[in-house]
């Protein structure tokens, strides 16, 4: 009788693998069919999709804490914010950045097209180099910002946080280019931290340190072709790895496997958000609205408002938003997105920024920085209020007025 039961349960285990929990434990690759989107799946079958790394990420999650990013489920916290932050800033952290939108741009006119699309010319960009890309609408308001990779003479890849095919196509009128959304065919991983080089070496790469900032190179990792770029938004030594979604799981497992020796940990969105704030990076949809989603037109901001003036080159052939940006450059921008440091351990979610009795702006992002041992924040303030260099306060939810020190971005500098 007992044997029967045992036999029965064993045979069930063998035949019904697909009904096992996707969390199969270390070493057992989960069945990708679990979360894969079927070709004929109805749009309403789920509200958020999963990335190609979802099962590997789920495997690492100890908190089961998730968040949505651009319509995808991503891990918010894997173990704890403290542990992950510590790994990221003192050893190395690995994250899934697959929800980013990737657009392949190619063709004879691709350089003039990008010159038209972006606020800065791209002709000087060498192959395998990347640059920060800012897209403005006709009013000179920021639609999106991202990173542009040059992959060949006539081939580029634009990586954005949100999808803007409509605008890219509209701007392509009259240019001989091919435009292709390749988001679904490229998975992204971010490897960051002082030990990132060691992790790559342990994974079999020969000289990762030879890669200069903003540069990219094709490498082989665990037998898989990976485009490795020294890019990212968190500051310090960081890499992004771009590969086929089918290979992503193997690359992730290989990196985590070999990286354990040097303390590599998966890092979730919560810590990535702290890190990007320390690096002074503003995000579309968090710190500012895309010009296409700003219902109140005054919420649409120019690159100058966002202190991205360095990304604008006005004196050249026509580009989207040029005339409006020229006006703004002459008259000065109305707002400025600036950094603040607060002597407060827990400031909640932020609130109005005041100087004296007058409200001069509002906090857009705020986090406790474990390295700086203070709360850091980004705030959008009226440019006219920046005449004063001090006297700023932030009103918390409990009604306290906390002194805030105007601080230059980035908050955290790496040697």
């Amino acid at each position: 009788m007992t044997e029967d039961v045992t036999e029965h349960s064993v045979s069930e285990e063998v035949t019904d693998v697909s009904r096992d929990s996707p969390l199969n434990g270390p070493g057992v690759p989960p069945d990708p069919a679990w979360f894969e989107q079927a070709a004929d799946e109805a749009p309403y079958a789920r509200h958020v999709l999963t990335t190609p790394l979802h099962l590997d990420v789920a495997d690492e999650s100890r908190t089961n804490s998730w968040t949505a990013w651009a319509g995808y489920t991503v891990a918010d916290v894997y173990t704890s914010i403290e542990q992950e932050y510590d790994a990221l800033r003192t050893r190395a952290g690995l994250s899934d950045i697959s929800p980013l939108t990737k657009v392949r741009l190619s063709g004879e006119d691709v350089v003039p097209y990008l010159d038209r699309l972006l606020t800065r010319p791209v002709g000087n960009l060498e192959p395998n180099q990347s640059t920060r890309a800012v897209l403005c609408d006709g009013n000179g308001c920021v639609i999106a910002e991202g990173v542009l990779f040059r992959l060949g003479d006539e081939e580029f890849r634009l990586v954005l946080r949100s999808s803007h095919l409509d605008w890219l196509r509209q701007s392509a009128l009259g240019f001989d280019i091919q435009l292709e959304d390749v988001s679904g065919t490229i998975a992204g991983l971010s490897l960051a931290g002082p030990m990132a080089d060691s992790v790559l070496r342990l994974a079999g790469m020969e000289k990762p340190a030879a890669l200069a900032k903003h540069q990219g190179v094709w490498v082989e990792l665990g037998g898989m072709p990976v485009y490795l770029s020294r890019t990212g938004m968190m500051g310090g030594l960081e890499y992004e790895l771009w590969c086929d979604p089918a290979d992503a799981s193997i690359v992730w497992r290989r990196l985590l496997g070999v990286g354990q020796k040097v303390g590599l940990r998966p890092v979730g969105s919560a810590v990535r958000n702290i890190a990007r704030l320390e690096n002074g990076v503003a995000l579309e949809g968090v710190d500012y609205l895309s010009a296409f989603t700003a219902v109140d037109p005054s919420d649409a901001l120019s690159p100058y408002d966002l202190c991205l003036g360095g990304c604008v080159d006005l004196d050249r052939s026509v580009f989207n938003g040029q005339a409006a940006l020229r006006k703004t450059a002459e008259s000065g921008s109305r707002n400025a997105l600036v950094g603040f440091e607060l002597d407060l351990a827990d400031a909640g979610v932020g609130g109005p920024i005041c100087n004296g009795d007058k409200q001069v702006g509002r906090i857009t992002s705020l986090a406790w920085s474990p390295t700086l041992q203070c709360t850091i924040a980004l705030g959008l303030v009226r440019a006219s209020a920046l005449g004063a260099s001090d006297g700023f306060t932030i009103k918390t939810q409990t009604g306290e007025n906390i002194p805030a020190k105007l601080t230059k971005r980035p908050f955290l500098r790496f040697s």
């Binding site: 109805a42 749009p43 958020v48 095919l165 895309s290 989603t293």
Partner: protein, 530 residues
């Protein structure tokens, strides 16, 4: 009968909200209603035993939250049901659906065009911008700019100021909205013809316009007043249908001391010193009142209740010139079950928003041309509400109602009358169109009822069967509504007011015109006293 402060002709939603507001201000009010039921066009009937549907009105509508709060309708028992979705079915078997979730909506659009999916946020942004402008004007009496009163001047000034302060870009947007056709406007966003047809169709229902006619775009944002989270907007409808809303309002009127008399048809306005002084009923009874409000349309209010000779110069002509067009036939099908829709899974949440069948924009344009030629259209545009999906109380267990608004049905035909044969032919066209997408649809039918625009005129008293009691076009909106020179609710006859949807904001919000009329009456009473 004792004298009352205000007598209201008609217990439609606007008559009820006017009465509730006046009653709340301490006036004694009496509603006289021709039928045995409150609700007017919003009243429900029984297409078959156990089934409940409005034979004339639409089964949904925007109830301004301000009115819900003012009359405390939620505590009076009114429940609003959120109906998400809406699916346009096309002849090739494809469909476009609305989803409230932004990710899902964009994925749905991406099935038709990746580019359109990314154009969606820009479309939503522009819709929300315009919807807010419309929403803000709903519960404001529109002052006549020609009337040089302080309040009219103030409103004109603030409107001019807000236009002058607009960024040029916003002004272009406003101009685009008020001038472009639906087709041209949507082409500025979407490349897929199916997506354009899907978004255009709801903005056409009830309006004597084709998709290629200028000014059609102006009513696209009306659907966006209810709310959205970044996906498609949803519709709110009262649980128990619009009848429940009417009953609820009637309760408020009575609680505020108001009275409702049924089976009382008003035939004349009692005049005294060229001022309205009460009403005269069909049986000859006279009811004296300080103020008379009419919940009838503008033409009935003036042209059938007054001696034309008593109206000021040219006013009768201006009223006669108000464009009222019947264009919608209402058809209710009582069904014993929900038929299967081709290509649409029965668990698709967008079904609650109903179906739209009308082919592409070209097909709609052809149907519109048929209407212009006064021919029954070979393929009308069908908006099918399925209220029973979210509110099963409207039908027996398992049963459903298809409440069809068939657009582009002429009031009169160029070559004769709507004979029984022609009515049957129209019904068959509609059934065939539905059956094309839902095989075996006819086997589900328990009962059916058809109200042509002319039936709507006979039964509800809407002139020519116009569902909006005056076409909602730019020349007949805001301070031009209902008649240029008599914007708002006052009339050239002292103490006589029009509180029906012939006044601003027409069909954009249920009960708003009545509440606004009451507000302007209370305003002028205050002025008189002080």
């Amino acid at each position: 009968m004792d004298r009352v402060d205000a007598v209201i002709i008609g217990a439609g939603l606007n008559g009820l909200t006017a009465a509730a507001r006046l009653g709340g201000a301490g006036l004694s009010v009496l509603i006289v209603e021709r039928s045995a039921q409150v609700g007017g066009g919003a009243a429900h009937g029984q297409p078959a035993p156990g089934y409940s549907a409005p034979p004339i009105g639409f089964s949904h509508g925007y109830v301004p939250p301000e009115l819900i709060r003012e009359f405390d309708l939620a505590r009076e028992g009114l429940q609003l049901i959120r109906r998400e979705g809406g699916i346009s079915l096309f002849d090739d078997g494809s469909h476009v659906a609305n989803y409230a979730n932004e990710n899902v909506m964009r994925r749905e659009l991406a099935r038709h065009s990746r580019r359109d999916a990314d154009a969606w946020p820009r479309f939503v942004r522009d819709m929300k911008r315009q919807a807010e402008l419309i929403r803000q004007s709903l519960l404001k009496a529109q002052e006549d700019p020609g009337e040089w009163s302080l309040s009219a001047l103030k409103q004109m000034m603030s409107r001019t100021k807000s236009v002058l302060q607009m960024e040029p870009e916003a002004l272009y947007d406003l101009t685009r909205f008020w001038s472009l056709s639906l087709d041209d406007f949507l082409e500025g966003y979407f490349e897929s013809p199916a997506v354009r047809a899907h978004l255009a169709a709801p903005a056409l229902i009830g309006r004597a316009l084709g998709p290629a006619d200028p000014t059609g775009a102006a009513f696209l944002p009306a659907q966006w007043m209810t709310g959205t989270t970044g996906g498609a907007p949803w519709r709110m409808s009262p649980k128990g249908g619009t009848q429940a809303l009417a009953d609820c309002l009637a309760g408020v009127v009575q609680a505020r001391g108001g009275d409702i008399r049924f089976h009382a048809e008003v035939t004349d306005i009692k005049m005294m010193d060229k001022k309205a002084a009460g009403v005269i009923l069909a049986d000859g009874e006279e009811i004296d009142a300080g103020i008379v409000l009419s919940d009838l349309d503008i033409k009935r209010s003036f042209l059938s209740l007054f001696q034309w000779s008593g109206l000021p110069d040219g006013f009768a002509r201006d009223v006669a010139n108000v464009r009222m067009d019947g264009i919608v036939a209402r058809i209710n099908f009582a069904l014993k079950g929900l038929p299967e829709i081709n290509g649409v899974a029965s668990d698709n949440p967008a079904l609650s928003g109903g179906l739209m069948i009308g082919g592409g924009l070209h097909a709609m344009e052809r149907a519109y041309e048929d209407w212009l030629d006064e021919r029954p259209p070979s393929a009308p545009l069908l908006e099918i509400a399925i209220p029973t999906l979210e509110d099963p109380s409207l039908a027996p267990e398992g049963g459903h109602i298809f409440a069809v608004s068939a657009q582009y049905i002429p009031t009169e035909l160029h070559d004769g009358v709507w004979s029984d044969v022609r009515r049957k032919a129209l019904m068959q066209t509609v059934k065939d169109m539905i059956s094309h997408h839902a095989h075996g649809f006819e086997d589900h039918i328990v009962a059916e009822e058809l109200r042509l625009p002319s039936d709507i005129e006979d039964q509800a008293g809407y002139t020519r069967g116009d569902p909006f009691l005056g076409q909602m076009s730019l020349d007949q909106m805001f301070f031009n509504r209902p008649v240029p020179g008599f914007s708002g609710y006052e009339s050239p006859i002292k103490n006589f007011y029009v509180c029906s949807a012939s006044g601003h904001p027409a069909g954009l919000a249920l009960g708003a015109a009545g509440a606004n009329a009451a507000q302007s009456i209370l305003g002028s009473l205050k002025g008189r006293r002080s």
